[in-house]
Symmetry: D3
Subunit: 234 residues, 6 copies
C-alpha cells in the first residue's frame, strides 16, 4: 500500500524509460476476471469515470499501463510513448486540460500493434473507428471525433497521470471491458487476482442458487435486518 | 383517467405485495407495437427521458412494472423487489437522489430471470454487460458503471416512482425497445392497444404510398396550409 | 473560397428549389475517403460536433446537402424538404432552438428513400431505429427519442443552416461515417477530393512502415525537435 | 400518506379550478425553515433536481403549488394558470418533453404578481432577468434563454406534474431558496413544519457547541463506531 | 435578406481589415431594447446558445462584431483582432474545435478597452474575473477557466464565424445582457430597431393592463381558441 | 519534483494525523497572486476542472490541503477530517464515486471555522448557501444540492485524492478565487511564489503599455512570426 513515484502528475518534458511491470500471468488472470470483479475484489476502488466507453463492444483486455500526459489537441507524446511500449502494454492518456480532439487513429494503432500493444485508454477523442475495429485494436475513450491534432507542446510519458478521475501510475495494470476501465496498483496485483478468483468461485455457487429460484433475501439472510430497519409489507 | 394510489412517491420503508396487473395479452400486444407507436397512440405522453438507452440493441419487450425506489448507491431494495416479481414483469428503479452506480449485474439478472422477469428499467447504472447480453436479459439504463453499491438504507417496492422524468405506478405497463421506454397506465392499456393497432394499420397504408413516391405534402394535404402560413418557393 | 448565398441562416418561410450540386463522381470519391481523411485534406475544418453519432454503425455515405431549418419539436419542414430531394442527396436539419424530439421515423425514411435520398443528418432526435436499420437508411443524430412533433410553424428549406456547430449550405457535400460528419463546400469539392486521394496514398506508405515496426519518431523525424523543446529521457 | 388525485400526470386539456391549499401559517412557517431543513425534516425526500437554480440569489419563499403541464416551447398554459392563482401561490411548470425555451418574462410576472403569486418554479427557461429581479419576482429555472414560445397546443393546469425529477401535486407546498426547491405534500405539511421546528431548535444547540470548538466526533459520539468499522489513525 | 460575404466560415489565415459597421445610433438603440425584445422583433432568430452566460451580471451592451476564428487552446488571433477594433465594437470568438481554455484575461481586456471595445462574446473560457468586473469590461462566455493558451496556429479575423450555434458575420450587431446574446444582421438593424421600439411601446400598454389585474386570457382573447382546442375546466 | 507519499489514492480506512505544511507566509503570498497567476507561474499545471465554482463570488484564499476521500452520499469523513484541521487549512474532498449530494452545510462550516479553516473545495454538493455567505466561509463545489447524506462507510483523511481531475496531496497548497481552484505542490511552493511575483511585476509593466494603446502584436513582437505562418491581411 505504499508508493514512491519519482515524478508528480502534471510534470511535463519527461520520458521515463524503464518502468516496472507486473507478472504477465497475473495480468492475464485479471483480464479473465473482468472489470466488475476486479473492482469489487480490490475494495471497490480503481474505476475510471463512466464516460469512458469502448468504441466497439465485446472486448476484454488487461495490460501494463504506459502513461501519457498530453496537452489539449496535441498528440505528439503518443509518438514518444509508442517507443516505450513492450508486448502486453496498454496506452493510457490523460490531458493537461480537457480535449475531445481525435488524438489517435489507424496509423498510430498500426504502430502500437506492431509493438505488441493491447489497447488504448484515452481521456479524449479517437477516430478511424472502422479501421480500429477491423484491426481488432480496442479503445476506450471519452469521445469519437475526427478533429486533427497538432505537435507543438511537450507532455510526459510514464509519469503518474489522472485519467477520467483515476490516478494511473506507469506499470499499473489496466483491466478494460464492456463495463468500463479499472486500474490495479502493480504491487497489489497478485493479491487482487487472488481475491478476484475467490470472488468468482463464490459467485458461481450463488449463481446456481439464484438460477434455481432462491432469493437474495434468503441467500444473504437479509430479512431480519430489513425488519429491524423498519421495512413494512402491506 | 382516475387513480387512487395508496402511497406517495418518495415514501420509504414500504413493500406493496399484491399489485394489480393488466391482462397479459394486452401487454404482449403493446410489445408488438413498440415505443413510438404506443407513445403516439396514447396522445404523445409516457416517454421516459432520452438518456435511458438499451445496454444492447435489438430487443423489444413489454411487462407490468414492479417499481423500486432506491437510495443513491444502495441496491438493497432490488433484492426485496425480486421476491415480488411474477412472470411477465419488468423491474423499474428510480432513486431518491441521482446515482450512476452499478446497482445490477449478472447475479441479480439470474435471480430475476428465474422468476420470469422480462427486463430492467433503471435510472442509474448497471454492470456485467457481456453477461446480460449472453443471458438475453434486456436493460435500459442511464449509465454503464461497475461501481459497487451498499445495502444500508431502506427504499420502497411497488409505490409510484419517478424514473427518468416519468411517473411509473406499480402495475403500469412498460414498453421498451431501441427507441427508449414508454409507460402506459394499467387502466388505459386496452384502449391504448386498440389505438396502437389502428395507428399501425393506418401507417401501413401510408408506407405503401410513400414507398411508391407520393409525398407527405399530398398525402396529408399540406400545401394549402403551408401557403396560408406564407411559405414562399423561390 | 468565396460565396454568395441568397438567404441568411435563420430566415424562415423560404424554399429554394433548384440548388446547385457537385459532380456525383466527386461526391462518391469523397465517400470512399471518409470523414477523417476529408477533414484533414481540407485543412482540418468542416466537422460537425462530436455529439452527432450514427444511430447504427458501419455505414459510410456522401451526398449533396438539402438543408432544413426547423422549429423546435416541429417536423413540418421535413415534408417540404423531401419534395426537393434528388437521387444522391442527404437531408441536413438544424433547428431554430434546441430540441431532442423525434422528428423523423420509418415513414419519412420510406419517403426519402423513394426519392433516392442517402441519409439524414439531424441536430435533434429520431425514432423507429429498428426500422431505419432494417431499411438501411443511415442517420446521424443528436438524440434517439420517440417524442412526437407537431406541424405548426414554418422554417425553411435550402438556406444555409447551422447544424451541430457547423454551417452547411445547400449543395455542400456531406460525408458521414462512424467517425461523425464533415461538410465540404461545393466549390472546393474537387480540390478536397484530390487532396484526400493524395493523403490516402501517403498514408498507405506510412502504414506499411508502421506495421513493419518503424516509429513515428523516425518516420516524421521528430527526435531533434523534441530535444530542442527540452524533452528529457530518464 | 395516502392520496387520491383525480388526473394522471401527462393528461392534457384539463384545468382543475378549485384545488385545496394548506393553511397559510403553516406555509409561512415552512418558508422560514428553508429547503435544507424541510428536506431533512420530512425524511430526506421532496427535492427537485440540482439544476433548478434561482435566477437571482437571496430569496426564500413558500407557497401552494399551482401546477402547469406545458408542451415544449409553448407557454399557452401559463396564461390559463394565472387565472387559477390565489394570493400566496407559486407556479410550478413541468413540460411534456424537454425544453429550454423562454416561457416566462416580465409581462407574465407582472400578471402573476397582480394576483399575489410568490414565485415560479419552471423546468424550462425564462427571460427578462433584469426586470424579474427589479420587480422582486423570484424564479427557479433550468435555463435562462430568451427564445420565444408559441401558443398552439394544450397542456393542463392543476394536475400532478413531474418537475425536475419530483412529482408535484396541485396544492402541495413549495419551499425554495438559494439551496434549491423542495416539495411538501399538503397533508403532511403541519407534521413537517413541526419536525422542521424541532430540527432547528436542535441545530441551534449544536451550532453553539460547534462554535465553541467541540467536534462532531464527540457531539455525535462517533469514535467508537468508526473504530469498529476499522478506521486507523497513523 | 441577402448576403455576399467573401470568406467561408472555417477559413484560416485571413484578416479582413475594413469591415462595414451599422450606424452607431441604431446600435445604441438596440442596446436599450435588450436581447429578448430584439430577438422577438426580428422574428425569433439570432440567439446564441443558452450556455453563453455573462461572467458578471447587470450589464447591457450592443456593438459591431469583430469576429475571430481561433484554434482550440490558442489565443493568438485575439491579439490580431484587437488591432482591428474601433470604438463601439464587440469581440466575438468562435473556435475551430471545442475548447474551455482561458483565452482572455485582464491584460487583453485592458488592450481592448484602450481601443474602445465594449465587450467580448467567447465560445470558450475566460479568466481574471475579479479584474474584468472591476474594470467594467463585460464578457459572455461558455466557461470560466484559468487554463493558459498557446500562440502557435493561425485562425482568422473578420470572417463569418459560428459562435454558440449562431452564425455571426463581421459587422453584425451583437446585443447582450443578462438574458444572453443575440445577433442582428447589419442590413436588418434599422428595421429591427424600429420593430423593437414598436414592441416596447406595445408591451408598455400591456404591462399596465396586467398590473391592473387583467388576464392574458382576455387581453389576447384566448378563451375561444382554447375551448375550440378542447380545454375543459373541472 | 519527487514525492514519496505513503498511501495510494483510493485507500480507505486511514487517517494521517500529522501532515507537513508549507510556510504560512508563502501560502499567504500565493493567495495574493490568485489562481490564474499561480497556474501560469508553475508551468500551466494544477488547475481543478472548470465545473468547480465558488458558491458565492468575491473571495480569494489559500491554505494547506487537508484531504478527504469520501464515499458517494456519505459525509462521515468530514467529521473525522475537521479534527485534523489547523488554522490556515483548507478542506479538499474527493469521492470514491461521483455524487452531487449535500455533504456540507452551516453546522460543519461552524465547526471548521472554529478550528481556523479557511474554506472547502468539494467535488460534490453543499447546502445552506445563505448561511455560508453570511458566515464568510468560502466554498468551491460541483453542485448546490440540499440532499442529505449518511454516515455508514469509511473513507480516508490526508491521503492523496483526485478532486475534479487534479491530484491533491495532504499539505499541498490550495489557491482559490473567482477563476476556480489551483493546487501547488508543497515542495514547489516557494519557487512558485517567486515566479508568481515575477509574473505580476512583468504584467504590471505590460498593463500600462496596453492601457496606453500599445498592441500585443508589437509588445510581443508577433508580426513577423504571423507573416511567416502565412497570415494575410485583405
Amino acid at each position: 500500500m505504499t508508493r514512491a513515484e519519482t515524478f508528480e502528475p502534471g510534470t511535463t518534458g519527461i520520458v521515463v524509460q524503464n518502468i516496472r511491470r507486473a507478472d504477465q500471468t497475473i495480468i492475464d488472470g485479471l483480464a479473465e476476471c473482468g472489470v466488475a470483479t476486479v473492482h469489487e475484489a480490490q475494495g471497490r476502488k480503481g474505476l475510471l469515470a463512466d464516460y469512458m466507453r469502448p468504441v466497439y463492444s465485446g472486448t476484454r483486455v488487461a495490460g501494463s499501463a504506459v502513461t501519457i500526459l498530453a496537452p489539449p489537441c496535441d498528440n505528439w507524446m503518443l509518438h514518444v510513448a509508442i517507443e516505450q511500449l513492450r508486448a502486453g502494454d496498454i496506452l493510457v492518456l490523460g490531458t493537461t486540460s480537457p480535449s475531445n480532439a481525435g488524438y489517435f487513429g489507424d496509423l498510430l494503432a498500426t504502430s502500437a500493434m506492431a509493438r505488441g500493444c493491447r489497447g488504448l485508454i484515452i481521456d479524449a477523442g479517437v477516430r478511424d473507428l472502422r479501421d480500429l475495429e477491423e484491426m481488432g485494436f480496442p479503445v476506450w475513450s471519452k469521445a469519437v471525433f475526427a478533429q486533427g491534432t497538432i505537435k507543438e507542446t511537450l507532455g510526459s510519458v510514464n509519469i503518474p497521470v489522472v485519467c477520467a478521475d483515476a490516478l494511473v501510475n506507469p506499470g499499473d495494470i489496466i483491466v478494460a471491458d464492456d463495463d468500463g476501465v479499472c486500474v490495479v496498483r502493480r504491487d497489489e496485483a497478485a493479491d487482487v487476482l487472488e481475491k478476484s478468483r475467490a470472488r468468482e468461485a463464490n459467485e458461481a455457487g450463488k449463481r446456481a442458487r439464484f438460477a434455481a429460484g432462491e432469493l437474495g433475501l434468503d441467500i444473504y439472510d437479509m430479512r431480519g435486518r430489513l425488519a429491524d430497519k423498519g421495512l413494512k409489507y402491506v
